[in-house]
């Protein structure tokens, strides 16, 4: 009894310590939020204090100047379409590669695994050339295509590991019913793959949503800009005008933070899954 009391006391200290560390972790968000509603003069004179007058107009200005609704829509469209397509084509490829381990498929799979270590910076220079040769530069299709190609290796790899653990006998039922290979995949195998589908979608969603370099190389038109490139352009234009820059940053991080808070159970499970399997 006494030891359990003592050990609880000891974890109490650990708890207090961790709460203090967590507060330290939140300090940047505090600075960001309180200063986003201060006037420019107040930011310069006192950036640590709580705002005395709330200048909500900062947000109105930032919303208009960044064309936030348009930019948000661009990010959302690219992220959703790329994500769904990557999950679809990678799971199909991985399934076929596991079930029909031909010479061609095993070479292709090795190529996918090897390509996982290629840094994007190693292919970005000629990629621009390839994309403009095909004639899809400065289009959403071009950007989505780049995500499909560059995202496929890791996604195929994750699906491949999972399909190996799905017993082949399960498919027999479908075969007896006379389903085609496509029917077996979509009606029997894909539903079983749901945990890994969640993992793949979460990893790709975080990557694509936050990616700056790929869209900055492919897109030029201002009306196609995603959140990271719009933020970069905005910062270049309103450098040091913190009363506009800070609310723009808050707007920029809000969608992904809300997404995280709503989906955190799946995100955290998905990441644990993906890494342990990987």
């Amino acid at each position: 009894m006494e030891t359990s009391h003592r050990s609880r006391g000891k974890w109490m200290l650990a708890e207090i310590f961790m709460i203090l560390v967590a507060l330290l972790f939140l300090v940047p968000f505090y600075f960001l939020l309180v200063n986003s509603v201060k006037s420019f003069a107040d930011i310069l004179t006192d950036s640590a204090g709580f705002p005395t007058t709330f200048v909500w107009d900062n947000y109105v200005q930032a919303w208009k100047l960044t064309e936030f609704p348009q930019v948000f829509w661009n990010s959302l469209l690219v992220a959703i379409v790329s994500n769904v397509l990557i999950a679809l084509i990678s799971s199909m490829a991985a399934y076929r590669m596991v079930r029909h381990n031909t010479m061609f498929n095993s070479i292709l799979f090795s190529a996918f695994v090897a390509a996982m270590i290629i840094p994007f910076q190693s292919i970005m220079i000629p990629l621009v050339k390839v994309v403009s040769t095909i004639g899809i530069m400065d289009t959403r299709i071009g950007l989505i295509l780049c995500y499909l190609g560059f995202g496929a290796p890791l996604s195929v790899f994750l699906f491949h590991g999972f399909v190996k653990s799905v017993p082949k006998e399960i498919e027999e039922a479908g075969r007896v019913d006379g389903s085609s290979a496509y029917g077996i995949f979509f009606r029997i195998v894909l539903p079983l793959m749901q945990p890994i589908v969640v993992t793949v979608i979460i990893l790709n969603a975080l990557w694509i949503w936050n990616d700056y370099l790929m869209p900055s190389l492919i897109l030029q038109s201002p009306d196609l800009r995603t959140i990271p490139i719009a933020t970069y352009a905005f910062f270049g234009q309103f450098k040091k005008q913190w009363d506009l820059a800070l609310p723009a940053l808050v707007l920029g991080i809000t969608p992904i933070v809300i997404f995280f808070l709503l989906m955190q159970k799946y995100i955290i499970e998905g990441i644990s899954q993906g890494s342990v399997k990987g």
């Binding site: 650990a14 708890e15 961790m18 709460i19 967590a22 972790f25 939140l26 940047p28 600075f31 960001l32 200063n35 930011i43 310069l44 950036s47 640590a48 084509i89 990678s90 199909m92 490829a93 399934y95 076929r96 590669m97 190529a111 270590i117 290629i118 840094p119 994007f120 910076q121 190693s122 292919i123 970005m124 220079i125 000629p126 390839v130 780049c146 499909l148 190609g149 560059f150 496929a152 290796p153 195929v156 936050n210 990616d211 700056y212 370099l213 990271p228 933020t231 970069y232 910062f235 913190w242 940053l249 992904i256 995280f260 808070l261 955190q264 995100i267 955290i268 990441i271 644990s272 890494s275």
Partner: protein, 293 residues
């Protein structure tokens, strides 16, 4: 028989075709093209690129101090970034798998910075370093906060390290937590029965059992820090005086700012080779330390 073969071929195309095709266009062809450009003096615009042999590669290693500086910066940054994110991530995970009431909320807080992209984080922290720290410095009178954080070479380096650790320790924490939860309770109880202290349990059982997670976390941290780009671009832009320019940023500037695509491609290939060697060595070294239950 023939129609079965045909339908097999069609299935192969339908299932594998799209991934293989996009992979070919977006990764394989650019990679091979890049290899070719690295032996030319292509400037990105002109139709002509003349073959220069190994001249770009020789130039990188003998006459390009900026690249060597960027390389050295990246190595130092990687070592610190990898060690700190892993130690902090593991300590967080260890404490948050103990009986702590607020652990779910704490996990959420530590993980949150990771979901925000490096580019936006860099801008947020630019404000913290420039305005936030100086106001805390004048309030608390700590010299730590009064340093010109982004203004000198030494402090700008640490500024990037601080933000990197803040951004990524929580992600590694999540992986370590799931691995710590997988250590069989019976194993730990048996050791405690035999009179092992908490420190002994940690060293002799817990750490060897989480080695697979260590492999994954080292791999991730090395890959993030060695490929540092977004955070670097928005926080310091490589400055002051290119002292905090990462290899990835150096390659980007070489190609897209001064239009030396041939040279940039050669750097990109060197970068790829180094990344490949590091990944290979690292996976080998940690795999040998894993234990199986």
């Amino acid at each position: 028989m023939n129609s079965k073969k045909k339908s097999q071929l069609l299935q192969q195309w339908v299932f594998v075709g799209p991934s293989a095709l996009f992979f070919l266009i977006i990764v394989v062809i650019p990679f091979l093209l890049g290899l070719y450009y690295s032996f030319t003096d292509w400037n990105g615009v002109s139709k002509h690129a003349s073959w220069v042999g190994f001249r770009n590669y020789l130039h990188i290693f003998s006459e390009d101090p900026a690249f060597l500086n960027a390389f050295w910066f990246t190595v130092k940054f990687t070592v610190l970034g990898v060690v700190l994110t892993n130690i902090i991530g593991f300590v967080f995970a260890y404490l948050l798998t103990r009986p702590i009431y607020s652990r779910n909320a704490l996990r959420t807080i530590f993980f949150m910075p990771h979901v925000i992209g490096g580019l936006l984080l860099g801008f947020i922290w630019q404000f913290i370093f420039v305005k936030g720290f100086s106001s805390m410095g004048s309030a608390l009178n700590w010299s730590f906060f009064n340093l010109p954080w982004l203004g000198t070479e030494g402090t700008a380096f640490w500024a990037i390290v601080i933000v990197f650790v803040w951004q990524n320790a929580g992600y590694l924490m999540v992986i370590y937590i799931s691995s710590l939860n997988n250590v069989p309770k019976s194993l730990i109880e048996a050791a405690q029965m035999d009179g092992a202290s908490r420190g002994q349990v940690l060293r002799k059982i817990t750490i060897p059992m989480v080695m697979p997670a260590v492999t994954v976390c080292l791999f991730l941290a090395i890959s993030w820090s060695f490929k540092l780009f977004d955070l670097n671009l928005s926080l310091t832009k490589g400055g002051p005086f290119k002292s905090t320019e990462s290899v990835a940023l150096n390659i980007y500037n070489e190609a897209f700012n001064i239009s030396r695509f041939g040279m940039g491609s050669a750097k990109a290939i060197v970068f790829f080779i180094i990344v490949a060697i590091i990944s290979f060595i690292q996976v080998r070294a940690t795999k040998s330390k894993e234990v199986e239950v």
